[in-house]
């Protein structure tokens, strides 16, 4: 028989898990599409919410940190400086937060239907990618307004930065989603945790002011991403390739860790969710 399946008590992560995920790739899209559709249903401004959040945050930060506190911004106008950081940061943090709730929030289907569980967190981060793309339009507008033309190298680096952010967000999200099934503490701890983490990432200030503490920031893959994004789009500094590579490696590490942990505990989700 061609398509035999064996069910055993213990299952190890294997290539077939990824084949299965591939077979269910349409489900990924359907979940993402469902989340987007439901999210903007019965909202007056619809998809503009994806823009509103980074935009409003940018205005508040510009007023307090840029104008009143005069936080340096590497010679770049503060609004565009902070917006570039926020764009990537919110992609990361919202992807992380939503992915961590992806299983618990879909409890009925997890308990009643079989499908590759990875589909849920992955599709959640995909919807954030859509939000990211929408919010990026504002950045393009701001660049025009302030007269910035991205370096050619920048345009090449940007997709890589998006992928790094995606991996880091998904890797962390997978781990937290799996933990959340068992320990509902995640839901309460995470908003606080991401808030703290934002201050440990050069979103509202340039990494150049951190001096000897820079290594703390560099542990976080988003530091490299945000710095490289600014460097490539705004040209405030040369791209730090070393740091970029480090970010890429850390995010790949996070992704692998997330997948391995998730797959290890996955089979018992339906029993304990």
């Amino acid at each position: 028989m061609d398509n035999s399946v064996t069910i055993r008590p213990i299952k190890v992560l294997s290539l077939s898990d990824f084949e299965e995920l591939w077979a269910f790739r349409e489900l990924l899209i359907f979940f993402a599409w469902r989340d987007l559709k439901v999210r903007y249903k019965q909202t007056a401004i619809g998809v503009l919410w994806a823009v509103f959040q980074p935009l409003a945050t940018m205005l508040v930060f510009t007023l307090f940190f840029g104008t009143l506190l005069k936080v340096p911004s590497d010679g770049v106008p503060y609004p565009i400086f902070v917006y570039t950081g926020l764009l990537f940061w919110q992609f990361f943090s919202q992807g992380l937060t939503d992915a961590s709730n992806a299983l618990v929030g879909n409890q009925p289907i997890v308990a009643k239907v079989y499908f590759p569980r990875l589909a849920l967190p992955i599709s959640t981060v995909l919807t954030k990618l859509v939000d990211f793309a929408v919010a990026a339009v504002i950045l393009a507008g701001m660049m025009l307004y302030y007269g910035y033309i991205p370096h050619l190298s920048g345009l090449v680096v940007l997709p890589a930065l998006v992928v790094i952010t995606f991996f880091a967000s998904l890797g962390g999200g997978l781990f937290l989603a799996a933990v959340n099934v068992k320990y509902r503490d995640v839901r309460y701890a995470l908003p606080f945790f991401t808030q703290i983490l934002m201050y440990l990432t050069p979103v509202i200030y340039p990494a150049s002011i951190t001096h000897r503490f820079a290594w703390i920031l560099n542990l976080n893959p988003m530091t490299g991403v945000i710095q490289a994004a600014r460097a490539s789009l705004l040209g405030n500094a040369p791209i730090d390739w070393g740091l970029c590579t480090e970010s890429a490696l850390i995010s790949i590490g996070m992704l692998i860790f997330g997948i391995v942990y998730f797959k290890r505990v996955e089979r018992h989700f339906a029993d304990i969710i």
């Binding site: 069910i7 055993r8 009643k112």
Partner: protein
């Protein structure tokens, strides 16, 4: 003989019941336990036994062996908690077995609960695609069968209406229709026919029949509806307490099942313990005819009979019962202290039998238990070595058509009391 399409070998599933009050395990508890761990090391003995008691294990399935041939339609029957749904859940891969192995030669699809994955905010059209994808269909496949699905469900006028506005009947019809158009080699069906109106149930049975006859599809079908099993299946399996206890033709197995239900009636007889001043010796539940039963038909009362020995004079002895559901909600509590003359008297040594009507006619389908307790003026007395004695029983519905919502087991509310609204125009 063809090779079996499903081979189940020694499947077991163990669940651990954590005795917590419905809450989720919080990280806090685990950390607290870890911090206390050094202390545990000191008083290892006592603590370990305490920890063992806090967790109760039970095997939902044990040592299940079955092989099912291509094209078989197998009915799975058994009383509530026999392990039927657990078996289907393991077959779909929703939950892993604790031991054993299953080999499946073909694509599996399941209908464990209709409409899981439906999103209330989305339209019927969107939900067909979403639900189809969750069940493992490709978009192209869904698109090809779209009209057929809509026709079968009869919801074409409401395709663009969010399903939250659907009546429950429409909802179920649409959900079943999506699943019925899957083309798996093995279809697992769990009690879906318990919902939906009679007309639609017939249509579904027809569809399932057509599919098995023409498509050679293998179906595992869990139901309490013996009629449907009889009509649809060519084989039948009976589970009890997680084990297969009978396989054969539907007629054979159903006969056995029905006779077994009567015999399984619980008659709790307790061993003598002369050290106790009052001891329960026997408890049971009887129907109106005095037959021993373990399942009560919904809407009917039953009689609780308790027998006990009194070994010394006990002033104002009162026996009582606590009726509870699923070991959690206490529904009703009654003592014999209502009877003033009993309370005033001293119960002299001897054996006694007390009967009381158990108000089961008020209860919906489900698992219930009665705890028997005894008390006297001085405080509570022990009736046995264990603090309480529980007799469990089920309330089942085999006669009433609950298509129309109220009192269906899965709906909210604990009581069965079919009262009628009286409505009249006000002006």
């Amino acid at each position: 003989m063809t090779t079996p399409i499903i081979e189940i070998k020694g499947i077991g599933k163990r669940y651990t019941l954590a005795h917590q009050n419905g809450g989720y395990l919080a990280l806090r508890d685990v950390l607290a336990r870890a911090i206390r761990a050094p202390l545990d090391l000191v008083g290892r003995r006592t603590d370990q036994s305490a920890r063992f008691q806090a967790k109760e294990e039970f095997w939902a399935l044990r040592g299940v062996d079955l092989s099912i041939n291509r094209g078989d339609v197998v009915g799975i029957i058994g009383s509530n908690g026999a392990g039927k749904s657990t078996l289907l859940k393991i077959l779909t891969g929703i939950t892993p077995p604790t031991e054993g192995e299953i080999t499946l030669h073909g694509r599996v699809a399941s209908l464990l609960e209709v409409g899981t994955g439906f999103h209330p905010e989305l339209s019927g059209r969107d939900n067909i695609f979403l639900n189809g994808a969750i069940l493992g269909m490709r978009r192209r496949e869904i698109a090809r069968k779209f009209d057929e699905i809509v026709d079968f469900a009869g919801v074409s006028r409401f395709l663009d209406t969010p399903v939250k506005f659907y009546s429950s009947g429409m909802y179920v019809r649409l959900a079943f229709s999506v699943a019925a158009h899957l083309e798996p080699d093995i279809l697992l069906v769990d009690e879906v026919l318990a919902v939906g109106d009679v007309e639609f149930q017939k249509k579904c049975l027809g569809k399932m029949e057509e599919v098995t006859k023409t498509g050679g599809r293998t179906i595992l079908f869990v139901s309490h509806n013996m009629g449907a099993i009889q009509e649809l299946c060519n084989r039948c399996v009976m589970l009890e307490s997680g084990r297969v206890i009978k396989t054969g033709t539907p007629a054979q197995v159903i006969d056995y099942y029905l006779s077994r239900i009567k015999r399984a009636a619980k008659d709790l007889v307790l061993s003598e313990d002369t050290s106790l001043p009052v001891q329960l010796t026997r408890i049971r539940i009887e129907n109106q005819n005095g037959d021993l039963i373990s399942e009560v038909e919904m809407g009917e009362d039953a009689i609780l009979v308790i027998e006990y020995v009194v070994r010394k004079d006990i002033p104002s002895l009162s026996v009582g019962m606590d009726l509870h559901k699923d070991r959690t909600s206490l529904l009703y509590s009654l003592d014999s202290d209502l009877d003033e003359s009993l309370m005033a008297a001293t119960q002299v040594p001897g054996t006694y039998r007390s009967r009381v009507v158990l108000p089961t006619s008020l209860l919906k389908e489900g698992h219930y238990g009665v705890d028997i307790v005894a008390g006297d003026a001085a405080g509570e007395l022990k009736l046995s070595r264990g603090a309480e004695i529980t007799l469990s029983f089920g309330v089942v519905n085999t006669r009433k058509d609950l298509t129309h919502k109220s009192f269906r087991a899965d709906r909210k509310g604990l009581l069965y009391q079919p009262l009628r609204w009286k409505t009249e125009p006000m002006s």
